[in-house]
Every structure is written in C-alpha cells, then in structure tokens.
Amino acid sequence: MAASVTVAAEGTKQLTKNNPSDFTEVKAHIDGATGAVSYIIEIPEVVDFGNLTQPDTNENSYTYKPYDVTAVEIKGLAKDAQGNVTQQVSVYVKDENATTTNSNFYIANTDPAKDYKLQYHVFDTTIANITETTPPLSSVTMASDKGYFLKGFTEQGQQVNGTLVLNQNQLFGQDLEAMSGDYSGHMVFYSEIVDKT
C-alpha cells in the first residue's frame, strides 16, 4: 500500500550581499501503513441523569454528571527535528441532532407520543471548576459540523474530565404526569489527526 509523504519548507529568507548564506529547514513525514488503526479514544457510553426531581421553586436546581474522554493509545504522530510532536488527535462533541443553527444538547422523552425534551449543558472541566458564570460549550454557535472542540490529544493517557449539567428548574410548574417517562439523548464524538494548533 502506497504511503503518503508530505514535505514542507519553512518560511522564506532573503540572501543579500551582507547575508550571502542562510539555512532552510525542510521537514518530511511519512504516514505509517494506511488503513491501520492510529489511535484509540475512549468515550462515555451514554448520557444518563438518572431520576430527575421537580423543584418547588423556580430557582436553579442543577444535577451534575461527570464524564471522561481518554486517549487510550496514540501512535505515529509527526514530530519535528527536535522530537516535538507536531500533530494532535482533535476531539469534538455535539448532540446527535445538532445543526449549525441549533447546536444545544438535549435529552428527549423516549415515548414518541410525549414531545418533551430537556436541555443540558456540556462543560470540558470538572464540577469544582464550574460556577454560575462558567460558559458551557454551547454558549457559542458550533463552528463546524464536527461539533464543539473538546481537546487535542498528543499522547497516550491524556484525558478530558468534563461535566454534564442539567437544570431541573425546566420541570418547575410542569405537568409531571404528562412529562413522565424515560429521557435519553446521545452525543456524537468526532476525532481526527491534524497539525497541532
């Protein structure tokens, strides 16, 4: 199987009477066997907030679920002449039904006769680092259909320790019997090897 080769020359330099010589670094990288597995990431299996509680007031009533995304194995990333890794495994996340115009995260009643959905937020940090003003991923519009950028992994063992947050005040004043049932939602994790940003 043919391997792909990329060659790049760094910048441009001018040779003058006072500077008659200089160097240009030329780098090359040869991709390993094509079609082979280059990395493995581990993603959470499911979004599960468990049993939700209807609050007595319209105050915020958050429930939190931690999640992890892990670089289980990475091999063959390109390096420069100094041995520094110049590529990364970029990981993105989005709701299964997200579009660039509506990219919020939702869980929906699994009974098709009950058209109810609840919004939740995705943070790329632990509960301890989340305050009332910490912006979730979806506080901005999704830049591409790959999803929200989560992390660029460069070596095995790196991890995103994030949190899913659902505000139960969405249930305040609602008809619980009408809304009752199981709710589920799914995230889509997109990953690819790119040059380091």
Binding site: M1, S4, I43, P44, V72, F189, E192, I193
Partner: protein, 155 residues
C-alpha cells in the same frame, strides 16, 4: 477403454491448470473475523481493575489508500475486544456518501478490508468511519456515537 480414461485424466488436468484462480485477497473482503485486535500496544491498566468500565473504545485512523476503480478498501474496522457494547460501523465520505456498512460487530470482531458500494475517481477525500454503539441486550438501545475522520487517497 484405457484411452478413454487417459483422455478424461488429461481433460481434468487441463481444467485444473487453466481454470482462473481466485485472488486469495478477494476472499477476505468483507469477511468479519473474531479475535480482531486494533493492533496498538495494550493500554496500561491503572487502579482497581474490578471497577466496571464506563467508556467505549473507538479506533481512529490517519489515512487509507486505494486505486481508482477498486471496489474494496483495506482499512481495519472493528470493535476493540475490551468493549462491552456492539458496533454498527459505516465507512462514509464527509459529504454523507455511504461506502460500506457493517452488520453488528461484537467486541473482538472486525474486518481488514471492506467492500465498497461504489468506486471513486482519483483524488483526495475527507472520509470517516462512523461507529454507532448499541447495548448488546434488551432490544439493543442506541448509545453515544463516534466518528473517526481520516484522509482517503485514491491513486
């Protein structure tokens, strides 16, 4: 009678020698094997190994290559043996064109080469393997999905 037997033997030999031989490589296209392994080094297991795993391992790729006119692609698509969920794997272009969809892959099952629904013209394509994860029980409800993007070179 003897000459008839000799004639039959010669004819049989001719058939065996001249019959077009099937390319052994073609026999593995689309074949799902058990004991599929992503062929990366075993991850280090830290901590209490008796704690139930909550995550799903997803293979990712840098690139794949094929020739214009090929109706199969060598790419190692499979469900890592450490998983506890099933996969339905689809090979697609970023524009949504589906090139291959697998049946249910149990942990440890995978393919080395996949048949394509169509061939591609010479060029460089953005492609991905979509891994739809499902529980292996109770009606097989869906779980989170992963997409592994890579560059597909058609020479």
């Amino acid at each position: 009678m003897l000459s008839l037997i000799i004639l039959i033997c010669i004819a049989a030999a001719a058939v065996i020698l001249l019959w077009p031989k099937e390319d052994p490589a073609k026999g593995v296209v689309g074949t799902i094997t058990d004991h599929w392994d992503p062929q990366v080094s075993s991850p280090v297991q830290d901590g209490d190994s008796s704690e139930p795993k909550r995550g799903t391992q997803i293979p990712g790729y840098s690139s794949a290559a094929m020739r214009e006119g090929d109706m199969s692609l060598k790419i190692r698509i499979g469900n890592p043996p450490d998983n506890h969920v099933g996969f339905i794997a689809s090979l697609k272009l970023r524009d949504g064109t589906v090139l291959y969809e697998s049946p249910l892959l149990h942990p440890g099952q995978g393919l080395e080469e996949v048949p394509l629904t169509q061939t591609l013209k010479k060029g460089t394509y953005e492609a991905l393997v979509e891994y739809r994860c499902i529980l292996l029980e109770d009606g097989k409800p869906p779980l989170n999905t992963a997409e592994s993007g890579f560059t597909l070179y058609v020479n």
